[in-house]
């Protein structure tokens, strides 16, 4: 199971990266970033996955003792929460940039923003 998830996450990351590196449209690049992020999140969750584990919430099923044998790793889940929110922040800011760039130049082509070089 984790193998598939892992492969999916890696491939998602690579597809996202391909989007970032190959698409000329700034919004498409940001879409690439979103995919990249999603892939990352899947990856992190996968890292914390334990075969046959339950959600890391203590309830009747898990009890409160020897919990460690029953649940999946909560730490990556905690991390991924943070990562998702950060990802949203970054995406929002990038989109704001995209909007501003469009306002400045009426273009979303990354190649049109080459005033600074060398």
């Amino acid at each position: 199971m984790e193998t598939i998830a892992l492969i999916t996450s890696f491939v998602l990351i690579l597809i996202g990266l391909y989007g970032i590196l190959s698409q000329k449209n700034i919004l498409k690049m940001i879409v690439g970033f979103s995919l990249f992020d999603t892939g990352l999140h899947v990856l992190i969750v996968t890292v914390g996955y334990i075969r046959g584990g339950t959600a890391p919430i203590l309830d009747q099923v898990t009890g409160t003792s020897n919990v460690s044998d029953k649940i999946v790793d909560p730490i990556p889940q905690a991390l991924v929460l943070t990562a998702i929110v950060i990802g949203l922040g970054v995406t929002a800011l990038m989109l704001a940039y995209a909007l501003k760039m469009y306002q400045e130049k009426q273009s979303l082509d990354i190649r049109d923003f080459k005033e600074l070089k060398w």
Partner: protein
């Protein structure tokens, strides 16, 4: 003393930030004050810890969040290292906020919040010991930065910001992958626990730590995956660029340092490689920049690369690691922030417009301070850092790294000093109004860099042996720069005299010669300064920097002192030379050669220190590591100063275009510093019986060819001062040749030439310089007939050229006689013949000089020219007296010199029978010759006077002239290109082949830079591609090596 827990930095900053969000747009002033308050608080906290930890009042302390010990919760560590770094970050944060007062004000609380959060996040990444926590706050920092970039209006900042976000987005993701896999493979996120589990040993953990380190390295903008950073530096508000360059980079470097524990030795090697490539590459590309802020960006990236390299190169256990790191870091930190801030004041983007700084001398001074600090001149921290770095690396045997560092530094010097030159020399425009809030941080950083420099010097090995008195003198002169010139001139003469008084008594004979040349010469060449009216701003600090450096050079007992003195002297002379009207370019090329030479010396010293303990100059006699190469490096280093063949092209311009009284200083005195270095070196090589015969043989040939080319070059000059400058090249060629003979007679020759050149070149340059000053032209063909207007100068020049040409009975002949004996005894016949040929060529230019200026036809526009001022004549006549004494009684100097040399050069000494000197080959009695020639001359003069009757003085044009009568002196004064025939026959020897070589080399470097920088196409996506490919390439190289 209560220490405030560093976590309060987070609490207070965020609390203030959130509160500022509440304030909204109306209460900008309140929120700005709040911002300053929070930043001040941060500064106090970190400063307090710095103080406590540095004075051992308190130990390093862990801060546990949430009440759990690591690895269960996130912890912060406040140790001395962290305290230093956070203090640096917070100080620049506070001052930056003051600097950007108006900008932050205008943009409202939003930008202030972002600013505050940025500083807070930097504190956290420095302190935190948790990998994921560091990731989060790195992200906070990147987003804050992305927000601050767009404080600046316009498309440039927006597109730069987007490129920045693209890059940091990818970097952060890579880091996150690394972090999550580190957790997977080590089971913890706490840095200390990660390191305990030795990630190096497991392939997966190793790759994860590789990714983390790559991410942080990419944050540090490695060449060439750094186009995004350059755009930011260029387009962001200068205050923000300053912040990025000093605060953010400092914090990130520290993170890299923290993380290196995860990496194995092999990865450290790649870190150092990445750093070095960045340092060299970035500075190479910097050469082509004309936009000041972009150039600073290149320089920033280069410096950060150097620091990365240091982290990778120097073992962290090495006692000096921290000193090196802090030295170079603070040099960069203060200077780069200061320069970016000044960039904001100046506003002009093009480096050629920076001359506006001249409207504000204090600002110009600070600007130069920062530029020099970046280039690693003393007394700035980076000097000590670089010194220690080179020494340390050499001792590790990392000579290749040292060379890379020196090459990179050299490139940096090229563009920084060109910039400095522009701002000193070009015509200033109007400086925008300077706000006090902008000015204060710059001044504080200016003071800070001096203070840090002193502090670092005291921590450097042997740094406490440095004598700062000359620099204090310079500082005093800087402070009193508003006084009229004659007061400062007197002060300078007094100070030089005082140095002489301190140094001369008890000085050993060989050094005494140089002491007298440097300091007594200094006094003599300062005397003409009394002629100058007005303030002569900046002249005296520069002059005393040079003379102070020379005094320190004499005093130097260890290599550090020597190098310190060498750099100080170079710096002073640069500022002196660049004062000339047309000398910007020439001072620049002088400086490039000097710095190049200094780096060779540094490398040489580094090699000397390998396998030896201590830094004593005596170690030169026991070089263990490639002794011949080390010797050769040092020798070539010194030869850049003596302008030996191949390294001479800077001299004619530099000496020729300098001010009238500066030319004698740099020509008669400064060149001898190189000779002094050579003398020390050759003595240490073991004197007569040394193991470097091949090296000295080569030097001998170089000396001979230098003499030939220098003198030949002088023959074809039309510019009087350049003629003398070329002559200096030739004379220094003789000196190099003579010392290379490595026998007692050779050395006596060398010393005689040195003393003579000092005297006659000072006389000639003073006279000619004075005449140029009086007439306002350098061109000899525009002069003529001045003997009637300036008889005293004529006599001085006549004596000067007789000495120069070596015509008996004056002291120049002593040199020639000794020279012949030395050469024949050594068996260097062909070199000797070349030198002799060069000597006869000297007649050509001597005649041209004196004839074109003083004889022939007086020009109409010079009919009212007056004799040189008294202050110019006085030192000349003192020196003439010196020549006369040395001519009549050479034994006064040569006898003790011979005794002093006997230890190193025991065989075939010069034997004195009274005033008669005997060598194995011949004999020579200077006193008798003087008497014979003098008597004969007088008798013959009387004979002529008896025979001739009432010689009648006739008018200028009363000459026999076939057929027609000359009407204009210009038509009758033959001077321009009078050696046309000679040029036809031998001119090919002075075809500018060497200049061509250097031009070619410069063009090559520039075009490589120009070609390479095209990778920075401006396309943000390409930059992202660079980033990813960088990771992949380094990964492939790395993985294939393990």
């Amino acid at each position: 003393m209560d220490f405030i827990s560093p976590i309060n930095v987070v609490a207070v900053s965020l609390g203030a930030a959130f509160f500022m969000g509440l304030l909204g747009k109306k209460a900008q002033t309140v929120s700005y004050i709040l911002l300053l308050g929070a930043l001040l608080f941060n500064t106090i906290v970190s400063g307090q810890w710095l103080y406590g930890l540095a004075t051992n009042i308190i130990d390093a302390q862990q801060v546990y969040t949430a009440g759990f010990r690591p690895p269960f919760s996130i912890n912060l560590l406040m140790g001395l290292d962290e305290a230093v770094i956070t203090t640096l970050v917070n100080i620049v944060g506070l001052l930056g906020a003051i600097y950007m007062a108006s900008g932050l004000h205008k943009k409202g609380s939003g930008s202030q919040v972002v600013y505050l959060v940025l500083i807070m996040s930097l504190n956290v990444i420095v302190l935190s010991r948790d990998l994921f926590n560091i990731f989060v706050f790195l992200e906070v920092g990147s987003i804050a930065t992305a927000g601050l970039i767009i404080m600046q209006k316009g498309i440039n900042a927006v597109s730069a910001g987007f490129k920045y976000m693209l890059a940091t987005g990818i970097i952060a993701s890579i880091m996150l992958i690394g972090v999550i896999f580190i957790y997977r493979f080590t089971g913890t996120l706490n840095l200390d626990f990660v390191m305990q589990s030795h990630p190096v040993l497991k392939q997966g953990a190793l790759i994860s730590s590789f990714l983390i380190l790559m991410a942080i390295l990419l944050e540090l903008k490695p060449f060439p995956a750094n186009g995004w950073a350059l755009d930011v530096y260029e387009s962001a508000h200068p205050g923000i660029s300053a912040m990025l360059s000093s605060a953010v980079a400092t914090a990130n470097l520290f993170v890299l340092y923290k993380f290196t524990g995860m990496a194995g030795e092999s990865l450290m090697y790649y870190i150092s490689l990445i750093g070095l490539v960045t340092f060299v590459g970035s500075n190479l590309l910097g050469i082509n920049q004309t936009n000041a802020r972009r150039m600073l960006g290149y320089s920033s990236i280069g410096q950060i690369g150097l620091l990365v390299a240091i982290i990778g190169l120097v073992p962290h256990s090495n006692a000096n690691f921290k000193l090196i790191f802090i030295g170079i870091l603070t040099g960069h930190y203060f200077a780069k922030a200061g320069l970016f801030w000044i960039a904001g004041i100046v506003k002009a983007q093009n480096i050629k417009e920076w001359s506006v700084l001249r409207n504000r001398p204090v600002l110009l001074f600070l600007f130069l301070t920062f530029v020099l600090a970046l280039t690693g001149f003393p007394p700035f921290p980076s000097f000590w850092g670089k010194w220690q770095l080179v020494m340390g690396l050499s001792q590790q045997g990392q000579i290749a790294a040292v060379i890379a560092i020196l090459v990179g530094s050299f490139f940096e010097v090229v563009y920084l000093l060109r910039w400095a030159g522009y701002s000193i020399k070009l015509e200033p425009g109007k400086l925008p109004e300077v706000k006090l809030s902008q000015f204060i941080p710059v001044i504080l950083f200016g003071l800070g860099i001096y203070a840090t420099g002193y502090f670092v010097s005291q921590a450097t090995n042997f740094g406490d042996t440095i004598n700062y008195i000359p620099l204090v003198v310079v500082a005093i002169l800087l402070v009193v720069d508003f006084l009229p010139a004659y007061i400062k001139n007197s002060l300078s003469i007094l100070a030089t005299g005082w140095f002489a008084y301190l140094l001369i008594p008890g000085q050993d004979t060989l050094k005494l010669v140089f002491t007298v040349i440097f300091l007594v010469g200094g006094i003599l060449t300062l005397i003409p300064g009394f002629h100058v009216k007005g303030k002569r701003a900046g002249f005296y600090p520069s002059a005393m920097l040079m003379f102070g450096g020379l005094a320190l050079l004499i005093e130097a007992e260890n290599m550090l002192q020597f190098f310190f003195a060498w750099e100080i002297m170079t710096l002073g002379s640069y500022f002196l030379i660049i004062r000339g009207k047309e000398s910007m370019v020439h001072a620049f090329s002088y400086m490039l050669f000097s710095v190049g030479g200094a780096y060779l010396i540094l490398l040489g010293f580094g090699m000397v220190s390998v396998g030896n303990t201590g830094l004593s100059l005596n170690l030169l006699s026991q070089i263990k590591f490639y002794p011949v190469l080390a010797m050769a490096l040092l020798a070539v280093g010194f030869m850049t100063k003596t302008a030996s063949l191949g390294l001479h092209i800077w001299l004619p311009g530099a000496h020729g275009e300098a001010e009238s009284d500066v030319s004698p200083m740099v020509s008669a005195i400064l060149l001898k510093a190189g000779v002094f270095g050579l003398v020390l070196l050759m003595l240490a090589a073991g004197g007569e019986y040394n193991n470097y015969q091949g090296l000295f043989y080569t030097l001998g040939w170089i000396g001979a060819l230098t003499a030939l080319v220098g003198n030949l070059g002088a023959v074809f000059q039309e510019d009087a001062k350049r003629l003398l400058a070329y002559s200096s090249i030739g004379q220094l060629g003789y000196i190099l040749f003579a010392f290379s003979i490595m026998s007692q007679l050779g050395w006596l020759t060398g010393f005689t030439y040195t003393i003579n050149h000092f005297m006659f070149k000072a006389i000639l340059f003073l006279s000619v310089g004075g005449i140029v000053m009086r007439l306002g032209t350098h061109n000899m063909y525009e002069m003529g007939g001045l003997i009637k207007k300036m008889p005293f100068s004529f006599i001085a020049v006549l004596i000067g050229i007789i000495t120069l040409a070596g015509i008996p009975p004056l002291s120049g002949f002593s040199g020639k006689w000794l020279f012949y004996n030395a050469v024949i005894m050594k068996g260097w016949y062909f070199q000797g013949a070349i030198i002799f040929f060069a000597g006869t060529i000297a007649f050509l230019y001597c005649f041209k000089l004196i004839y074109s200026i003083f004889l022939g036809q007086l020009k109409d526009n010079h009919r009212n020219v007056k004799e040189l001022p008294f202050w110019y004549l006085l030192p000349q006549y003192i020196l003439i007296l010196g020549i006369m004494v040395f001519s009549a009684k050479p034994d006064l100097i040569l006898k003790p010199l011979g005794t002093a040399l006997a230890a190193a050069f025991p065989s075939n000494p010069l034997i004195w029978e009274g005033t008669k000197a005997l060598s194995q080959l011949g004999y020579w009695d200077a006193t008798t010759i003087m008497i014979v020639i003098g008597t004969m001359f007088v008798i013959l003069l009387i004979w002529l006077m008896l025979m001739s009757r009432k010689a009648q003085n006739v008018k200028q044009f009363n000459i026999v002239y076939a057929g027609e009568r000359p009407e204009r002196p210009e038509l009758t004064h033959v001077s321009h290109n009078i050696y046309a025939g000679y040029n036809k026959a031998l001119g090919f020897l002075v075809a500018p082949g060497i200049t061509g070589f250097w031009n070619y080399a410069t063009n090559l470097v520039e075009s490589i830079g120009n070609f390479t920088r095209r990778i920075y196409s401006g396309n943000g996506q390409s930059y992202a591609i660079h980033l990813v490919s960088y990771i992949v390439v380094v990964f492939i190289i790395y993985i294939s090596s393990i």
